[in-house]
């Protein structure tokens, strides 16, 4: 049997995702890929592999899985309750999933999208240059109970690592730069936008997320007759009812609603992960400030692997601490 992860039970919106397929914008196909791209970098850092490896994205709810062979896994993104054969395992960490062992993942405790990574990445078919399911374009689809997802060869061996906890799962402040249509909104309207607290609406999916303002909606001088223009993930459209809709990875490629600004790439994971009810605010920054932020974020992402630390078990959970080798290969660094 080929190396695979069997899906025993599937949450309603699980799909294989990678960094998506760039290059088809001119044909009306958005890049797609993971709603929270940072989670792919984190999974890659935990498993010591490329961020281009495909992972399983789980919207709101996980599932139950069984490995056909011993395999390494990592859990990132929205924290979910996870256990291997009933024993709880840490989120934001890598583990060994032994052949035949069952991994169960429950509902998200915060945030929207959890990710299950495997050593070697999922080896599902490549379509138009990527493995990512594009649900809106009907490329691939959601993962169902009973499927066996093929897993690539894994060059790594290390497990039991964890990354520092990230704060992007509870809403908060996101930064945006002015964009092509920002000028259609009066300075007063823009200022009010930046002072308003928004609540993530229950409506939303991989195309985008709707945010409900505290107080009145927003309006531009152009009304509803704006010429359709290119849109990309991060753009903040003000829809007909005055509420902002932030476009995410599977967004359409053109849109006719005026856009008040564009969320910078570094803050887009925070938007994607805001769960219904989460509070969000927007802050306009200059292009120069955004460049500074993106430089730092790119450096931080590239160095994520160095921030991974051995997963320490709670000593109370371990009957005989002395018999455990807490960190395998801990002396490697001295060689």
């Amino acid at each position: 049997m080929t190396r695979a992860l069997k899906v025993i039970r599937a949450g309603p919106q699980m799909s294989v995702q990678d960094m998506g397929r760039a290059g088809y914008l001119a044909f009306g196909l958005s890049r797609g890929g993971a709603a929270d791209r940072l989670a792919l970098w984190e999974g890659a850092a935990l498993l010591g592999q490329s961020e281009g490896c495909a992972a399983l994205e789980m919207a709101g709810m996980g599932g139950t899985f069984e490995a056909t062979e011993d395999m390494r896994i990592a859990l990132t993104g929205a924290p979910m309750a996870a256990a291997i054969d009933g024993a709880p395992v840490a989120w934001n960490a890598s583990h060994l999933l032994a052949r035949g062992a069952q991994l169960s993942i429950g509902a998200a405790r915060a945030g929207s999208y959890g990710y299950l990574h495997v050593g070697g990445g999922f080896d599902t078919p490549v379509l138009l240059g990527a493995r990512a399911a594009h649900l809106v374009a009907r490329i691939g689809g959601v993962v169902h109970e009973g499927e066996a997802l093929p897993v690539g060869e894994d060059a790594g061996t290390r497990t039991g690592l964890t990354l520092p906890e990230d704060g992007r799962f509870k809403g908060g402040k996101v930064r945006l730069v002015p964009s092509v249509q920002t000028g259609l909104f009066s300075p007063e309207e823009r200022a009010r936008f930046a002072q308003t607290v928004f609540t993530r609406d229950a409506k939303g999916n991989r195309m985008g997320a709707r945010f409900i303002p505290e107080g009145a909606g927003f309006a531009s001088a152009a009304g509803l007759s704006v010429l359709s223009e290119v849109i990309v993930p991060g753009d903040v459209q003000i829809t007909g009812d005055g509420t902002p809709f932030v476009l995410l990875s599977e967004c359409q490629t053109t849109g006719g609603y005026p856009r008040i600004g564009a969320v910078i790439p570094a803050d887009l994971p925070r938007v994607a992960q805001a769960a219904p009810g989460a509070a969000l605010t927007f802050e306009f920054v200059t292009l120069e400030a955004a460049r500074e932020i993106e430089w730092k974020e790119a450096e931080r992402r590239a160095a994520l692997g160095k921030t991974a630390e051995p997963l320490l078990r709670d000593p109370r959970d371990i009957a005989n601490l002395g018999s455990y080798q807490l960190v395998s290969g801990v002396t490697d660094g001295a060689a």
Partner: protein, 235 residues
């Protein structure tokens, strides 16, 4: 010939953190649409370092680039140099254009109301729409989805304030003197006036995206769907 737009056009503007937008006009117009199509071809041919992707909208060219290693002023300068090379508004339409005749069943809940907004009866609307040859001005929104125009002035009606929960795949919709045809079922603010069974996106095919910018189309009124669309080269 030499039909340029007045004043400030074309303009280059920042589109988010990693994009630039070259616009050839504020409103949709034939010369501006041709300029956008031709300028994108030129940008692709120029192979400017740091550019990762380009596309056209109705009257603009978008390019995504790597602003960390290629800053905005340098990218702007490259585009300005290219813009100054010729009169883009005088550019020809792309080569290899085709005329599609797409069978359409006109009707549905929104037809009468939409016709009224255009100042005519439903019958008059169907007659006019099915007799108008429109051009694919751009492909966008969804895979292979065309924006077609330009319709007579009566059709300069806004999109709806409220979204229609779902227009089916193959739905033909209208607003602001344009038609759009949906490749998959989708919520939309456009007003549906007809239904086709035309497959715009064929992911398994060698040519997944069927229509191309510059192609022409006629949405011919039929009583029921089933007959295939026809396609002929335009010389």
């Amino acid at each position: 010939m030499g039909e340029t737009q007045p004043g400030k056009w074309p303009v280059i503007r920042e589109a988010g953190f990693d994009g630039l937008l070259v616009s050839f006009g504020e409103r949709l117009g034939e010369p501006a649409n041709r300029a956008a199509l031709a300028f994108r071809v030129a940008v692709e041919a120029a192979r400017i370092g740091g550019v990762s992707e380009t596309s056209t909208s109705l009257v603009s060219v978008y390019l995504r680039f790597d602003p960390l290693n290629h800053d905005h002023p340098a990218m702007r300068a490259e585009l300005e140099a290219l813009l100054s090379e010729r009169d883009w508004y005088a550019a020809c339409l792309p080569e290899g254009r085709r005329l599609w005749r797409i069978p359409t069943v006109y009707g549905g809940d929104q037809l009468a109301q939409t016709a009224r907004a255009a100042g005519m009866s439903a019958d008059e609307a169907v007659k006019q729409l099915s007799a108008t040859q429109v051009r694919v001005q751009t492909i966008g929104f969804m895979p292979g989805m065309p924006y077609l125009g330009e319709l007579p002035e009566a059709w300069d009606i806004p999109r709806q304030t409220e979204l229609t929960a779902e227009v089916p795949k193959g739905g033909l919709c209208v607003a602001i003197r344009q038609l759009v045809l949906f490749p998959v079922a989708t919520p939309t603010g456009w007003r549906q006036i007809g239904q086709t069974d035309f497959e715009l996106f064929r992911p398994e095919s060698a040519e997944p995206f069927v229509l191309r910018a510059g192609d022409e189309a006629v949405f011919e009124a039929v009583d029921e769907l089933g007959a295939a669309a026809t396609c002929e080269e335009i010389t």
